[in-house]
C-alpha cells in the first residue's frame, strides 16, 4: 500500500495542474469562440482589421 503515498499526491498534482492549465486557457480566450477558428483556414480573403472598440 505504500505506493499509494506516492500515487495520491501525484494524482492531486496532476489535478491541480490540469485545472491551472484550463483556467489559463479560458482566461486567454481559447474558449470564447469555438466555431470560427475551425473555418478560418477556408477563408481565402485576408482578414480585415476589426473596428477598435
Amino acid at each position: 500500500m505504500n505506493i499509494l503515498l506516492m500515487m495520491i499526491p501525484l494524482s492531486l498534482a496532476f489535478l491541480a495542474g490540469a485545472v491551472w492549465l484550463f483556467f489559463w486557457a479560458v482566461n486567454n480566450g481559447q474558449f470564447d469562440d469555438l466555431d470560427t477558428p475551425a473555418l478560418l483556414p477556408l477563408d481565402d480573403a485576408p482578414r480585415r482589421d476589426e473596428t477598435p472598440p
Binding site: M1, L4, I8, S11, L12, L15, A18, V19, F22, F23, V26, N27, F31, D32, D35, T36, A38, L39, L42, R48, T51, P52, P53
Partner: protein, 788 residues
C-alpha cells in the same frame, strides 16, 4: 416576498432608510457595485440618452440586462421590487435573455434610482448597450466554463476515492487508509462546493432575502447539508461520506445551466448583431471646419458628422452633401445603392457607397430607426420559451416537495432511531434528483439546435421548435422560395427597334438595384462592367424598380407597374416589362426553375399530414403551373404582401397552425404573422432576425428534417420529465425508509441524469446522418460584418 404584509414591511424598512442593512447582510456574495458611483454615471444626460427611449408624455423606457437571473422566482422578485418603486409603470423580465424592459415616469423616478432599487434586491443591472453586453457575456461564459470544469475534475477525483472506499468495504480496508480516502474526498470536494457551487448559494441567499423558495434554495440547502454532514463524519472518522455525490450533483446542475447559457447566447447573436451595426465612434465637425473623433453616445441632435466612403452612418440624419449612394439593405432587403440627394434622410446602420459626405444628425441612440427595429426584435425575443418555463415550474415544485420530505424523514427517524435521522435525511437529499428536471429541457433544446444547424437550419427563437412541431399548414412563397428565376437571351423581345443588348443594358442597370430573384436573374444576364449610370432609384415592393438613366425615367417590373396604366397585348401580361414614359422598350420572359428539392420536400410534408399552400404575387397561370407540378391543391396568385398576411390570419382563425416559408423579400409581414416562420438566408437581415428560423443554402428538404427534429425534441423533453418523475417517485421513499446505501444513492443520482442526457442525444440521430455535410452551415453569422 410571500404576501402583501411582508412587502409592506419591507417597504417600510426601506422608507426608514434602513435598507443598507440588506446591503451589508449579503456580504458573502461578491458585490462589485455596492457604491452608488456606477449608477450615478447614468445621471449624465449623455450616457443616459444612449439607453433610454422616450415614449412621450413623461414616460421613459429602457432595457436592462440583469446579472444573476436564474429562474422564475428571480423574475418574480425583480418584477415585484421594481414594480413597487414609485413611478414605475411596467416591468417585464425575461429569465432566459436576462433582460428587463422597464417603463417609468421621468418626473417620479430616474434611471439611477431604478438601478439602485434593483441592486438593493441583490441583482446587478446594466442598461443595455452593445459593448457592455459583449463583455458581460464573455465574462459569464468564461466563469461558467471554469466552474463547470472544476466541478467535473472534482467529481471525477471524488468518485475515484469514493469507489475505493465502497470497494474497500467489501474487501478489508484498514481504518487509516479509509480515513485517508475520506480526507482526500474532502480535499477535492471542497473547491467544488466553495467555488463551483457558489452561484447556487448566492442565488439562494437572494431568494431567501425575498422570503421566496425557488430552485436555488433547495439546491443550495442540499449541497450545504450533504457537504456539512460528510465533513462531520470525516472529522469524526466514522459513518459515511458523500463527497462524490455532492460533487456530481454540482457538476450535473452546472452542466444544465451551461447548456442553457449556450443556447441563450446563441439566440442572442442575431439581435446583438443588429444592435452592433452602428459604429462606436463618429467624426464630428467643429466650428473651424476640422473634425474630431467622438464616441457615438456623445453625438447630439444638430451635430454635423462626416462619414467616409464605405463607412456606416452613425445616426439618423439628413444629407448635407450634394449626393451620395447608400446601401440600406438592412432595412429594405434591397441590396445596392439608393441614390440620396441633399436634404434626403440617412438611416443609422446603412453603408455609404461613395463619399465622404457630411450629414446633420437628427436622431441619435435609442431614437434611431435601427434601434427601433432592434428593440422590436428584442421584444419578440424577450418572451421566454414556453418549454423552459414549464420545466422550471416543475423543477421548482419538485425541490420544494423534496425539502418537505427530507424534514419529515428526519423528524420521523428522530422519533424512532435518532442515530439514523441524519443519514436517512441526507440520503433523501442525495438521491432525489432535481438535476434530471433541470437538465431535461436545456439538454434537449441544445441538441436540437445543434442538429438543425448541421443541416442548415439556424434557430433564431427556440420557441419556434415547439411551434414547428405542432404546425399543420405550410405556406410557401413561390418566387425565390420554391423556384429560382433564370433568363436566357432568347426570352427577350424588344419594341421599336431597340437592340437586345441596348435593352439588356438598361434593364440590368435597374435590376441591379433590387434583390428580388427575378431582378437578379435579369442582372446576371448582362455583364455588369458596362452598366449604365442610374439615379433616383426607387424600389416598389411587389411591383418593380424605377430609376432615371441618361435622362429617361425607366420602370422595370410587372406589366401594370412598368406601363403605368397603358395597355399592351395580352400575351405580355405575365412578362417582366422595361418601359419608359412613352411605352414599352422590352419584354422579358423569365423562366422559373423549381428548386431541385422542392418536389421531394413538399411530398414529404404532405406525407406527414401537413397541408401545403402556395401564396404568390405572380400571375395566375404561372402559379397554377407550379402548383400542378408540385401537386399542391390550394394556391392563390396575384397577392400583395398584405393579402398574403390576411390569408395567414384567415387560416389561423380557422384553427390551423401555420408555418410560413419565404425569402423575406416582399413577404416579411407574412413571416411575422405566421405561428412559425422560416426565412431563406438570401433575404434581408431584418427578416432573418424577426423570423423563427433561417434556412441556409435554400435547401427546402431541410424543413422536413427540422420538423422531424422538432417533434423528436418535444417527445424527448416529455420522456425526460416523465423519467425524472418516475425515478424520484420510486427512489425517494426507499431512501426515506433508510434502505439506500450511500453508493447506491450516488449511483442513482448520476444515472438518472445520464439517462436524461443520453436521451437528449438521441435527437438528430438515426435519420440525421447529414447527406452532404456542409460545415459552413454551422456558423451563425447571417450578418455581414460591417467595416468601419
Amino acid at each position: 416576498m410571500c404576501c402583501q404584509g411582508c412587502r409592506a414591511a419591507a417597504e417600510w424598512i426601506e422608507q426608514l432608510g434602513l435598507s443598507d442593512y440588506y446591503e451589508l447582510r449579503t456580504a458573502p456574495a461578491p458585490r462589485p457595485d455596492t457604491g452608488d458611483t456606477t449608477h450615478d454615471s447614468w445621471q449624465d444626460a449623455d450616457s443616459a440618452r444612449h439607453v433610454i427611449r422616450d415614449l412621450g408624455a413623461d414616460l421613459r423606457e429602457t432595457l436592462l440586462l440583469i446579472e444573476g437571473v436564474r429562474c422564475t422566482a428571480c423574475v418574480w422578485l425583480i418584477e415585484r421590487s421594481l414594480g413597487a418603486a414609485p413611478g414605475v409603470v411596467s416591468v417585464q423580465v425575461n429569465a432566459v435573455a436576462r433582460r428587463a424592459r422597464v417603463v417609468w415616469q421621468e418626473s417620479k423616478i430616474t434611471l439611477p434610482q431604478l438601478l439602485q432599487a434593483l441592486s438593493r434586491t441583490g441583482y446587478r443591472a446594466l442598461p443595455l448597450d452593445a459593448g457592455g453586453l459583449d463583455d458581460l457575456r464573455r465574462g459569464e461564459s468564461r466563469d461558467a466554463l471554469k466552474r463547470l470544469v472544476v466541478a467535473g475534475f472534482g467529481a471525477m477525483q471524488a468518485m475515484m476515492y469514493a469507489t475505493a472506499i465502497y470497494l474497500g468495504a467489501a474487501e478489508s480496508l484498514d481504518d487509516s487508509t479509509r480515513n485517508l480516502l475520506r480526507w482526500l474526498g474532502l480535499l477535492v470536494a471542497t473547491p467544488v462546493v466553495l467555488y463551483s457551487a457558489r452561484p447556487f448559494f448566492t442565488g439562494a441567499l437572494r431568494l431567501l432575502k425575498a422570503g421566496r423558495v425557488g430552485m436555488d434554495v433547495p439546491v443550495a440547502l442540499a449541497i450545504a447539508a450533504v457537504y456539512a454532514a460528510s465533513l462531520i463524519e470525516a472529522v469524526r472518522g466514522v459513518g459515511e461520506v458523500y463527497f462524490d455525490s455532492v460533487s456530481m450533483f454540482v457538476f450535473f446542475l452546472l452542466t444544465g445551466r451551461y447548456l442553457e447559457m449556450r443556447a441563450r447566447h446563441h439566440a442572442r447573436d442575431l439581435t446583438d448583431a443588429l444592435a452592433r451595426l452602428t459604429p462606436p465612434f463618429a467624426e464630428r465637425a467643429l466650428e473651424d471646419g476640422t473634425f474630431t473623433r467622438v464616441g457615438i453616445h456623445q453625438l447630439r441632435v444638430g451635430d454635423r458628422v462626416r462619414v467616409a466612403e464605405g463607412g456606416i452612418v452613425p445616426a439618423d440624419g439628413v444629407l448635407l452633401t450634394e449626393r451620395c449612394r447608400v446601401d440600406e439593405a438592412l432595412l429594405s432587403g434591397e441590396s445596392a445603392a439608393v441614390m440620396k440627394r441633399r436634404d434626403d434622410s440617412l438611416i443609422a446602420g446603412s453603408v455609404l457607397e461613395d463619399g465622404p459626405v457630411l450629414m446633420r444628425v437628427e436622431r441619435v441612440g435609442a431614437d434611431t430607426a435601427l434601434a427601433g427595429i432592434a428593440a422590436l426584435v428584442g421584444r419578440a425575443h424577450a418572451e421566454r420559451p414556453r418549454l423552459q418555463v414549464v420545466g422550471e415550474i416543475a423543477a421548482g415544485r419538485f425541490v420544494a416537495r423534496v425539502l418537505i420530505l427530507t424534514a419529515i424523514t428526519a423528524a420521523g427517524w428522530a422519533i424512532f432511531d435518532p442515530a439514523r435521522a441524519l443519514p436517512a435525511a441526507i440520503a433523501v437529499l442525495v438521491i432525489s434528483c432535481p438535476c434530471a428536471f433541470a437538465l431535461a429541457v436545456p439538454a434537449a433544446l441544445t441538441r436540437a439546435l445543434g442538429a438543425m444547424a448541421r443541416r442548415g437550419v439556424l434557430v433564431v427563437k427556440p420557441d419556434g421548435i415547439q411551434a414547428l412541431a405542432e404546425c399543420t399548414h405550410v405556406l410557401f412563397d413561390k418566387t425565390g422560395t420554391l423556384t429560382e428565376a433564370s433568363l436566357s437571351r432568347t426570352d427577350l423581345r424588344t419594341f421599336d427597334g431597340v437592340s437586345h443588348d441596348g435593352a439588356l443594358r438598361l434593364a440590368m442597370a435597374l435590376a441591379r438595384q433590387s434583390r428580388h430573384p427575378v431582378a437578379r436573374a435579369i442582372a446576371a444576364a448582362y455583364p455588369d462592367t458596362d452598366a449604365a449610370a442610374v439615379s433616383d432609384v426607387a424600389t416598389h415592393a411587389g411591383a418593380g424598380v424605377s430609376a432615371t438613366i441618361e435622362g429617361r425615367t425607366l420602370r422595370l417590373g410587372r406589366s401594370d407597374f412598368a406601363l403605368a396604366g397603358k395597355q399592351l397585348a395580352r400575351e405580355f401580361e405575365d412578362a417582366v416589362l422595361l418601359a419608359d414614359d412613352r411605352g414599352p422598350i422590352a419584354a422579358f420572359r423569365i423562366t422559373e426553375r423549381l428548386r431541385p428539392e422542392a418536389c421531394a420536400a413538399i411530398e414529404a410534408l404532405q406525407a406527414r399530414g401537413m397541408t401545403v399552400l402556395i401564396a404568390s404575387g405572380d400571375a395566375n397561370s404561372k402559379v397554377a403551373a407550379i402548383a400542378a407540378r408540385l401537386n399542391v391543391g390550394t394556391w392563390r396568385a396575384r397577392l400583395l404582401p398584405a393579402e398574403k398576411l390576411a390569408w395567414v390570419a384567415e387560416l389561423r382563425a380557422a384553427g390551423a397552425r401555420v408555418l410560413a416559408v419565404g425569402d423575406g423579400i416582399n413577404d416579411a409581414p407574412v413571416l411575422a404573422g405566421a405561428d412559425v416562420a422560416i426565412a431563406l438566408a438570401e433575404g434581408s437581415e431584418l427578416t432573418q432576425a424577426s423570423s423563427d428560423m433561417v434556412l441556409k443554402g435554400g435547401r427546402l428538404d431541410a424543413i422536413v428534417y427540422a420538423r422531424n427534429i422538432a417533434q423528436r425534441t418535444l417527445a424527448v423533453v416529455r420522456q425526460n420529465q416523465r423519467w425524472a418523475l418516475y425515478y424520484n417517485f420510486s427512489a425517494v421513499p426507499l431512501a426515506a425508509l433508510g434502505f439506500i446505501p450511500p453508493w447506491l444513492a450516488a449511483l442513482g443520482m448520476s444515472l438518472s441524469s445520464f439517462v436524461v442526457i443520453l436521451n437528449a442525444l438521441r435527437i438528430g440521430r438515426g435519420d440525421a446522418t447529414p447527406r452532404d455535410a456542409q460545415p459552413e452551415h454551422s456558423r451563425v453569422e447571417p450578418f455581414p460584418r460591417p467595416t468601419a
